[in-house]
């Protein structure tokens, strides 16, 4: 099982965000990928898309099921990880490195209310 980086923040919907200045890389947690099983498709937004906290920014589809991806924060998509289109299985292999989008936060205060690694691990126990 992958460990949950202490420097990340987490949501109850099982996304993580790695903050750096006013930007954050977003992905899904090890717990989420294990629940989904073998990932076969990821649909991500275009650069420039604006998102509200909790809004869907894409979908992730495994052999088993399809789920929405929810933005941990409000902001604008400034980068999209196009490599995941061809290698979606990397989300299963390295969930905490397989970032999907980079979001420029327009309401940075939201981030402080997200879960830390300890709180998140308590949630999924």
């Amino acid at each position: 099982m992958a460990s949950y980086p202490a420097g990340y923040k987490y949501t109850k919907d099982h996304e993580w965000i790695e903050l750096s200045g006013d930007r954050g890389k977003v992905g899904i947690t090890d717990y989420a990928q294990a629940q989904l099983g073998d990932v076969v498709y990821v649909e991500l937004p275009e650069v420039g898309a604006t998102l509200k906290q909790g809004q869907s920014f894409g979908t992730i589809e495994s052999v088993k099921a399809v789920s929405e991806l929810y933005s941990p924060v409000t902001g604008e998509v400034v980068e999209v990880n196009g490599a995941l289109k061809d290698k979606p299985e990397s989300i299963n292999a390295t969930p905490h490195e397989s970032w999907m989008v980079v979001i420029r936060l327009t309401q940075p205060s939201e981030a402080s209310a997200l879960l830390d690694a300890t709180q998140y691990q308590a949630l999924i126990k």
């Binding site: 076969v40 979908t59 589809e61």
Partner: protein, 339 residues
């Protein structure tokens, strides 16, 4: 049976390349016996059971008078006047009631719901015979496809049937429920050297879909006729009257207006059960099964289309969560094992 043990893709590939183990004890077993058992089975089952020798099995349909499916079944001839019908888990009491009611006119034959007397463990894949052979003195190589024998497996009195639902060679082993745990463990242990994996419902679904085997409740039900499901080969056209015969003969003569097809997605996305199918702007049908196949690494599915759009190569759209996604009719099965 869980959805998965180690992961659908790993389990699927184990069955295609080595072997996988399935606990399918949820399946139902209904026995029909009596002097007129053959006539009884001939009346309720679409296929021609008179062609079965003792020790042989056949795929068939339990049909309504309209020629649609109450269930799809396997008919095993245990003796000249003794049959075992394996039914889906979905509605065993309903199937039993249907069979009991409809065999009455046949004369001396009665049905028993024997489901609680059987557990069913299936081993499927190219290594299935070798693994199972290490647990039994029965000569498995001598059992032909869709035949069965009685014998001991790991010291347990069993019925060993060369059948399955994966498109691979394999065996299904009927045992008393109290022996099921021990047999499962023995088969897992025997398969360890060949890296045999326990498999769940998820892989069972992707495997059967690659082999284009229909799933009751999705690809067929009481709204779909045998001919629409393109299963005319399970109809004993030459035998005497059976439930659904008149409707099917008429449908065969006039032709069906829709039919099941296999398809491949030409654009990204998985067409799942219940998604709408469009030809141009017109809603023309529905997806009944769909998945990303771990072996072929394509997005495939089955669904119903108007007959004029069922030729291989015909293109249509599937509404995948609001997005029209291109698909193409392809011949079935999607996967056929090399013999």
């Amino acid at each position: 049976m869980p959805v998965e043990y180690s992961g659908i893709v790993a389990e699927h590939m184990a069955v295609r390349e080595r072997a996988g183990l399935f606990d399918v004890s949820h399946m139902g077993q209904i026995e029909i016996a009596g002097k007129d058992a053959l006539a009884a089975v001939q009346h309720i089952s679409s296929n021609d059971a008179s062609k079965l020798a003792v020790g042989q099995a056949q795929y068939s349909g339990l049909l309504t008078p309209e020629g649609t499916f109450v269930d799809d079944i396997l008919v095993y001839r245990q003796g000249p006047s003794h049959f075992l019908i394996v039914v889906n888990a979905g509605d065993i009491p309903g199937d039993f009631a249907w069979i009991s009611e409809h065999i009455k006119p046949a004369g001396d034959a009665s049905a028993v719901d024997a489901s609680s007397r059987y557990a069913l463990i299936s081993i499927q894949g190219p290594e299935a015979q070798r693994v199972l052979q290490s647990l039994t003195a029965v000569d498995l190589a001598a059992i032909k496809y869709y035949w069965f024998v009685h014998g001991e497996v790991a010291g347990v009195r069993s019925t060993i049937s060369r059948t399955g639902y994966t498109g691979e060679d394999g065996f299904e082993v009927f045992v008393p429920p109290q022996a099921a745990d021990a047999l499962w463990q023995a088969m897992l242990d025997a398969g360890r050297s060949a890296s045999v994996l326990p498999c769940g419902l998820g892989a069972r679904d992707t495997l059967r879909l690659e082999a284009a085997m229909r799933l009751y409740g999705q690809d067929m039900d009481r709204t779909v006729s045998v001919l629409e499901a393109d299963l005319g080969w399970i109809v004993g056209w030459k035998k005497d009257d059976f439930i659904g015969a008149a409707a099917l003969r008429q449908q065969k003569a006039s032709g069906v207006s829709r039919k099941i097809v296999g398809f491949e997605m030409l654009e990204r996305g998985i067409a799942r059960h219940g998604y709408d199918v469009y030809v141009g702007d017109r809603k023309a049908g529905v997806v009944t099964s769909g998945t990303q196949t771990p072996l072929l690494k394509k997005s495939i599915g089955m669904g119903y289309l108007p007959i004029e759009h069922t030729a291989p190569g015909t293109e249509f759209d599937v509404d995948i969560r609001g997005r029209r996604t291109r698909a193409r009719v392809v011949p079935m099965p999607f996967y056929k094992r090399q013999k």
